[in-house]
């Protein structure tokens, strides 16, 4: 068929004088499509098999640098479900979006201290563990999963865990840094204009509290006032207040930053001079979870995605990509030895001991929210 004839048929189809089926038949496009489908069964066959159950898309809300994109591709190839990823900077932001409603999320990644709040606000559903056959509670390290259990029901299943320390570019900073006191003193002193802190009250205020040796979770007025004073004094010396600190650290604009395990691991992997420090005064240990919001539009696909990512073989690939340790013994068995011995991912016991899990009260405390806002708008 020549071009003119093809256009003629297409116009007829557009005008409605022939049906789509006729158009595909006459032009040969239908046959071409059928041949294409036969040639690539792995692409389209599962789609047909799952189409009825899962639909064609799933919406995941998560954190930056937190997954292996290849795993999403594999999931799509296996089920025909496309993964739409939304990235957030803080749990507060995630909570606010869900509270406002109409997010369209099917699966999201809350942190330990938020789960009770989500449950109280009736924003998440108790999980149907029958739909997560690859999740095995028995193989999980207890302290990292218990925040997901409320009144004996599982509201969220463990994704992975980590610590909040700071990253230092040792090519630029010669001092041996070991504490939060070092971090703040050098950020305000010798390395003025080179430090970054999170755009996140929990960690930024928490680690300012650690400067004085107070609890990371403190909501005591006097202690918070001290932390605010430190933050306001530090602000003119900071390079930026931003949770996406990898670009600035990698290009050398920033030399030290408050940092989560996996970001520390990812930067250290590519630039060995960037080291990760856990303040000896303590700070935060945390665990992240998968949860399903109430009214998820593609609920089954959300469960399927969580189940897929929790499959030990898949999860091991996730861990290798994002550099956060897993709480799942089955996954850890599949990891190379050097990861399990990595001091960034699995710090020494004496560094882990003083770390605290964030508390729900810390997250929702209005005084802390207001201090962070005053710090940022100062």
């Amino acid at each position: 068929m020549d071009r003119k004839e093809f256009i003629h048929h297409m116009r007829r189809w557009q005008k409605g004088s022939i049906s789509r089926r006729q158009f595909l038949g006459v032009t040969g496009l239908g046959l071409a499509t059928a041949v294409l489908v036969k040639a690539m069964p792995e692409l389209l066959a599962p789609r047909q098999a799952f189409a009825g159950d899962l639909g064609d898309r799933v919406s995941l809300s998560t954190w930056p640098n937190y997954h292996d994109p290849k795993n999403f591709e594999d999931f799509t190839a296996k089920t025909g479900v496309n993964v739409e990823v939304n990235v957030f900077g803080s749990n507060e932001e995630m909570l606010a979006k869900l509270q406002a409603g109409g997010t369209g999320w099917d699966l999201f990644v809350p942190t330990n201290y938020t789960i009770s709040t989500y449950k109280e606000l009736d924003l998440i559903e108790p999980l149907d563990l029958a739909m997560l056959p690859n999740y095995d509670p028995a193989s999980m390290e207890k302290r990292f999963v218990e925040a997901g259990m409320i009144d004996g029901k599982t509201y969220a299943v463990s994704k992975d865990w980590g610590t909040t320390g700071y990253a230092v570019n040792t090519k630029k900073i010669s001092e041996k840094m070991t504490s939060w006191k070092d971090f703040w003193d050098l950020a305000m002193g010798k390395y003025s204009g080179r430090a970054m802190v999170h755009d996140y009250q929990l960690t930024t205020i928490g680690n300012a509290l650690k400067y004085y040796g107070y609890s990371f979770n403190s909501i005591a007025d006097k202690e918070l006032a001290d932390a605010e004073k430190l933050l306001l004094a530090a602000k003119p010396h900071l390079f930026a207040i931003n949770s996406d600190y990898q670009p600035s650290m990698r290009n050398g604009d920033a030399w030290l930053t408050v940092c989560w395990t996996g970001d520390g691991k990812q930067m250290h992997r590519d630039l060995p001079e960037i080291e990760y420090v856990i303040g000896k005064e303590g700070g935060e240990i945390w665990s992240d979870f998968y949860a399903v919001p109430k009214g998820a539009p593609h609920r089954a696909a959300g469960y399927a995605l969580a189940d897929f990512l929790l499959t030990p073989a898949v999860n091991a690939k996730e861990v290798q990509a994002h550099g956060y340790p897993s709480a799942d013994a089955r996954t850890n068995k599949l990891l190379p030895k050097e990861l399990l011995e990595d001091p960034i991912m699995y710090p020494a016991a004496e560094l882990l001991a003083p770390l605290e899990f964030g508390a729900a009260a810390t997250l929702t405390n209005p005084a802390r929210a207001e201090i962070m806002a005053r710090f940022k708008s100062a």
Binding site: N242, P247, G252, D253, P366, A373, R374
Partner: protein, 293 residues
């Protein structure tokens, strides 16, 4: 009966047609502008719920608390007008050259150069500026030239540069349009009557391009007042605008009532400034079409 209608009937009918045609846009205006604004007003007098959000109540505490965001108001009220003025100073000569001096072919080429960036995502263009102003960009060139070490990114200056870059086309186009419409014989007439070029610019060209200048300034100023992205990306979270304060109040502190009060103040400040601006400039724009207003 003949179909002759009285003028009153014709008028009544015309009024009906007008109402019918305006109906949809009126409903649109009501549903998407008036109602949400009313919600914001109600929220601004409410209280923050314990876990964040809104809780019914009546208090003016949110308005009394506005000074707690004075830095955001100060940054916005300084940098938005400054950005508008710099835009105007940069755009006028360009628009003048485009409309009056450039040959038609060159004009088309230059216009395309002004428009093309609009086809790329604003976010990506702002990210590009992060690299240009970041340590490995312009500052390293300045250092290489031996002009000393400078810090550009995450300063008020980088925010200003980003704002002027982002909104310049919105200033160029209205001025270009009003200058292009200008009857060039008027300038010739001024010259014939003995006016030097500078004087005819001041007395003929500039007043006749006033509608474009007014429109451009309004467009740029209003958008800059609500700017969020540029301070966030080029200010590193340190040069805080009202827009950033709003996002923070709604998403991080989850203090919706206070956020609503800040939003209302922004609306009021904008209405007041724009009204004053229009009053002052009315005598230049009077009797001419100030498009988009």
């Amino acid at each position: 009966m003949t179909a002759i209608r009285t003028s009153a009937q014709v008028e009544r009918r015309a009024r009906w047609v007008t109402a019918l045609l305006l109906g949809p846009s009126f409903l649109w205006y009501l549903a998407l502008l008036v109602v949400p604004l009313a919600v914001v007003v109600v929220f601004s007098f409410g209280e923050r719920a314990p876990a964040g959000g809104y809780q019914a109540g009546f208090t003016i505490a949110n308005y009394l608390n506005l000074p707690a965001r004075s830095a955001a108001f100060r940054n916005t009220l300084l940098l938005a007008p400054l950005g508008t003025i710099v835009c105007l100073l940069a755009a006028y000569p360009l628009a003048y050259y485009l409309a009056i001096k450039a040959s038609p072919r060159l004009r088309l080429f230059l216009l395309i150069l002004v428009i093309v960036p609009f086809w790329t995502s604003f976010l990506i263009r702002t990210y590009a500026w992060m690299f240009i102003l970041g340590g490995r960009g312009l500052p390293s060139v300045i250092e290489w030239l031996g002009l000393g070490e400078v810090r550009l990114i995450n300063t008020p200056l980088s925010v200003l540069i980003g704002m002027v870059y982002g909104y310049l086309p919105l200033m160029v186009f209205p001025i270009f349009v009003s200058l292009e419409r200008l009857d060039k014989r008027l300038i010739e007439a001024a010259a014939d009557l003995g006016s030097n070029p500078w004087r005819s610019f001041l007395q003929v060209t500039l007043p006749l391009s006033a509608p474009g200048v007014i429109t451009g300034c309004m467009l740029v100023f209003i958008l800059l007042m609500g700017e969020y992205l540029i301070p966030q990306l080029l200010g590193g979270g340190k040069v805080f605008f009202i827009g950033n304060a709003l996002v923070d109040l709604f998403l991080q502190s989850r203090n919706w009532p206070f956020g609503s009060a800040v939003a209302m103040s922004l609306v009021i400040i904008m209405l007041a400034t724009v009204t004053v601006y229009l009053r002052v400039t009315r005598r230049y724009g009077a009797g001419r079409d100030v498009s988009l207003l």
